[in-house]
Symmetry: C2
Subunit: 299 residues, 2 copies
């Protein structure tokens, strides 16, 4: 018989992930601070939870998918939190993207009650959450990994065990550092070329097959020249990830010179009201400085 | 009948490029400041040139493949230079990677003598120069492009017309900006992950298929974990390209915030005697700061 799963956090990512678990035959008890997505999933067969504590009290495995570290702390350790309802031996899988240090802290705290915690952040965004093809990077006790792998496979097509708890989020942050800097690289190069009078479309066609080629270039450049900044992945979420990366980097002592600057560029765009744009909109930082848009036009 | 071609600059790139032209049946007259590669090609059937002027006086098309802007200026416009020997209607194709402004300057100068100039820098490095599969980005008079396309196709598998003279080098510099920053992105992320206790190899396996994936990651990460910094493309050559990019960016007014920093990082490595390393060796800038090497090991 499939295990009883609790699912807390039914946002853009959490709701389709919970649905994919239900499709695979898991019984879900769900909770969110907003009533609407709970109603929706209850109609589809989920059980209504009234608090994280309530959800945890009836679940063998509890999954959380929340915005950031403070929310995870609150939902797990706060009043009416998971820790108050969970029985010894409960497995907690936090799939949020948070500060790896907070993952470790929470894991230590819940361990005192016999709760086993994994951090299992995802990448791939809403479309892959819906398809159930997320990439999932897992940190936690290796001997228990096989125990949760089947559950994670309902939501992701790549499920990789990394190391001890917190390491899933370290990988996620490394991923977000590279994505942010590759977007910045494309932005600097394309604004440079356009200002020098060269059609950026020709730049793209000439270089995409070589060493400058990247997933970022192929995914974001076509959006930029079409002036399409609909997310995708929002600048304000990338800011959150980079902030967590910088927190962690300060703790372990690695100066992230370039990440810091891209963080500041994104923050400026957010303060100008563009935080809801796709992160490809980072190019506007450069465009607005030089008074030029990288788009389809005659050069 | 195939045209008589002059080839000046028989270094790591120029020599195999000249050879590929000879294989396609072109008659070559060659020149280099060093005698050795000239001897070599003369044995293979090339005619010996005694100066750029001498080469130009007997060629319909003159190709130059030189280290940087000053050498191109000297060879084209200097004493015993191409301009002294070339007849009206001669086509000059400079395949060096140089400052786009210098390309424009030289083109204007030689135009006074009726010489038509293209800038046609390449990417792909020594292996692709040998195979004849370089990517070639061409700037110059569009109406004459078809005239030289066959010649360029002997050396490259991708020959793209970009725009007016200088634009080939703008694309090349955009390419080099992206490559440098993508290497820096990988370096920052991998040193961060390793210092946080995560095996970089697992980071690579988890992220390479997603939005963080890139040609740089696939080409350079395996070299880094094997501690193989044999070029490939040398840091000191990448410094030269970034310097040309910064010159050009100052002229057109685009602040290359991140490129500037990677330029400084590379310069520091060069001043420490690592200028001959592959540009993937940029990671050492971070590694040396934090006292850690990203390599295969137990984490």
């Amino acid at each position: 018989m499939k295990r009883q799963i609790g699912f807390i956090g039914l946002g853009i990512m959490g709701k389709p992930m919970a649905r994919n678990l239900m499709k695979k035959g898991y019984s879900l008890k769900v909770y969110d601070i907003r009533n609407e997505p709970v109603e929706e999933l209850v109609k589809e067969g989920a059980k209504r939870g009234y608090s994280p504590k309530d959800v945890a009290s009836e679940s063998e495995v509890v999954i959380t998918m929340l915005p950031d570290s403070p929310q995870v702390k609150e939902v797990v350790l706060g009043k009416d939190g998971i820790i108050e309802g969970a029985k010894e031996g409960t497995i907690l899988i936090d799939m949020s993207s948070i500060d790896p240090n907070v993952s470790k802290e929470i894991a230590e705290e819940v361990k005192k009650k016999g709760i086993i915690m994994f951090d299992a952040p995802v990448s791939g965004g809403e479309p892959k959450a819906i398809e159930g093809t997320l990439s999932i990077m897992v940190g936690g006790p290796e001997e228990k990994f096989e125990d949760i792998k089947e559950i994670l496979t309902a939501m992701g097509s790549s499920v990789v065990y990394i190391g001890k708890v917190g390491s899933g989020n370290v990988v996620k942050l490394a991923n977000q550092i590279i994505v942010a800097l590759n977007i910045a690289a494309m932005s600097e190069a394309m604004v440079f070329a356009a200002k020098a009078g060269v059609d950026p479309e020709k730049v793209y066609q000439s270089i995409r097959g070589g060493l400058a080629g990247s997933a970022v270039l192929d995914a974001k450049f076509p959006m930029i020249v079409e002036r399409n900044f609909k997310p995708g992945f929002r600048i304000e979420l990338h800011i959150k990830d980079l902030k967590n990366a910088l927190n962690m980097s300060h703790q372990v002592g690695v100066p992230l010179f370039l990440t810091t600057q891209v963080y500041e560029m994104m923050y400026l765009l957010k303060s100008k009201g563009k935080g809801g744009d796709d992160h490809g909109g980072l190019i506007k930082f450069y465009e607005e400085l030089v008074g030029l848009e990288v788009k389809r036009q005659t050069y």
